[in-house]
Amino acid sequence: MSKPTWTNPVVRWIDYRLPVFTFANEQLIEYPTPKNLNYWWNFGSLAGIVLVIMIATGIFLAMHYTPHVSLAFASVERIMRDVNYGWLIRYIHMNGASFFFICVYIHLFRGLYYGSYKSPRELLWIIGVLIILTMMATAFMGYVLPWGQMSFWGATVITNLFSAIPVVGQSIVSWLWGGFSVDNPTLNRFFSLHYLLPFIIFALVFLHLWALHAHHSSNPVGIDMKGPQDSIPFHPYYTVKDAFGLGVLMLVLLGFVFFAPNFFGEPDNYIEANPLVTPTHIVPEWYLLPFYAILRAIPNKLLGVIAMFGSILILVLVPWLDTSRVRSARFRPVYRVFFWVFLLDCIVLGYVGANPPEGYFITVGQLATFWYFFHFVIVLPLVGWLERPRPLPDSISASVMAGKGKEAGHA
């Protein structure tokens, strides 16, 4: 990569003092990217764009929203009915939250399938886990703001999780509430934090990209780039591919916004919060359901809370739990099976989380929870030791030039 010489004198003047143009050229244009990335590699950039959409729509929603228990619900209804395009901005924000999680979950499972978390990308992965945690906190607090029934009771249930902490639990909960129940102080601080956290996510995304660019993208065959024959410049090849993916994502997202805007929502949240009446069936938003199922699977309150947070935090250890030296599941016939079983397990957990904890849902939830942790703690290390991976190609270039024959074994 040669340092470009800028012909435009203004660009040259600026670049000599603040090399933004050189930086952009190195990191966004010439940036060498594996030439074999498939469409599963689109979801990182898509998640980033959805984050920007969420911040933009959120800033405009905040101009019309009132964080007060007696005004919040009505102010959201005013956004829906009176504010110009308020319905559009709110529906994009609501459905954008779901699509943010869709993109990030696909991105996460992409990483699990192709072993993207392995050395030297462990920190990149851990920062990603922190991003998901922050996203969950942000989404949860955002869901409280409209002050509907689900907002209120979701906030009550989730904040009460902390009461499971021995000795200081109850004090922590009333500290979180700023009172003796979820009330106006709670709503105020949730609004403040809901506005803050997206910028924390933005900073984490910056670190995520920094770590990514230190060692470049992994790729479907999971072997490193060995020279210029293995890479193509990011622009125009991946800018165009990402733009195409964005077009598809927008079609789906706006399809929901315009034709089924409340598909992901709960009708109960269009009833104003009532601290005296709990809805018969409380469910979190869909993206939290698997973790909610893990919480309910364990009959002990404290252990349930620990299991729920543990189910996310265990992802931090994945780079070390997976003992295989081969990155991509494409060459790991045994791990590949367990990957799909694990994905199915997460979907089962989500399904159980959406249903009342009765009858066989309890048993299924407990089995699925067991398997969730079994996968990480037992399956990942053991398969890494015992599995015999298929031979790796000599290089990215060789695997691409070999044509479709090499790909045949891949589902």
Partner: protein
């Protein structure tokens, strides 16, 4: 276009442009149009909302206002001065030579009924509220209103006579519903 279609991708056409150039420019144009269209709803949310526009008219009962008295009502968040002028005030407003005024306008063009002067009570200089509505207020040198911020004097027709304000006090749109009530806006 048929010539372009015949050339290989990226191949040069007769005039030196390529099919790739065409695709690039159309893509960028569509992208830029889409981005502009997407930004408009965000900008438009900051315009007055429907409930704000719905508050844009105010009905006022004029029965309690005696001759020489004034009331202040709120219209669109701003004060509106309603003064029931005396014969002397009307005469004073109409005796001025219009061409001598900084913002020439005859009194007859500023009222619908000579006794009732209705004005937006916001100084046309920098938006302060002039004095002159309450009985103890100074009314300036011309018997109308006086703006304490920068010293603008308005006459009994609400016209600027002296001071930095560039224009007369604005007459809001209004109509008399009957002899005793008026709708502003």
């Amino acid at each position: 276009m048929s010539d372009t279609a015949m050339t290989a991708p990226g191949g040069h056409d007769d005039d030196g442009t390529t099919r790739r150039d065409f695709l690039l420019f159309t893509t960028l144009t569509v992208g830029a149009t889409g981005a502009a269209l997407a930004v408009w709803p965000l900008i438009d949310t900051m315009n007055p909302a429907k409930d704000v526009l719905a508050l844009s008219s105010t009905e006022v009962d004029l029965t309690p206002v005696q001759e020489g008295q004034a009331i202040t009502v709120v219209w669109r968040g701003k004060p509106v001065f309603i003064r029931r002028r005396t014969q002397a005030e009307i005469a004073a407003a109409r005796s001025v030579k219009v061409s001598d005024l900084p913002d020439p306008q005859p009194d007859t063009a500023r009222v619908k009924q000579p006794a009732w002067l209705i004005l937006v009570g916001v100084c046309t200089h920098l938006g302060c509220i002039p004095l002159g509505q309450k009985s103890g207020d100074t009314r300036g040198d011309y018997g109308g209103w006086f703006c304490p911020c920068h010293g603008s004097h308005y006459d009994t027709s609400g016209r600027i006579r002296r001071g930095p304000a560039p224009a007369n006090l604005t007459v809001p749109p209004y109509e008399f519903l009957n002899d005793n009530s008026v709708r502003i806006g």
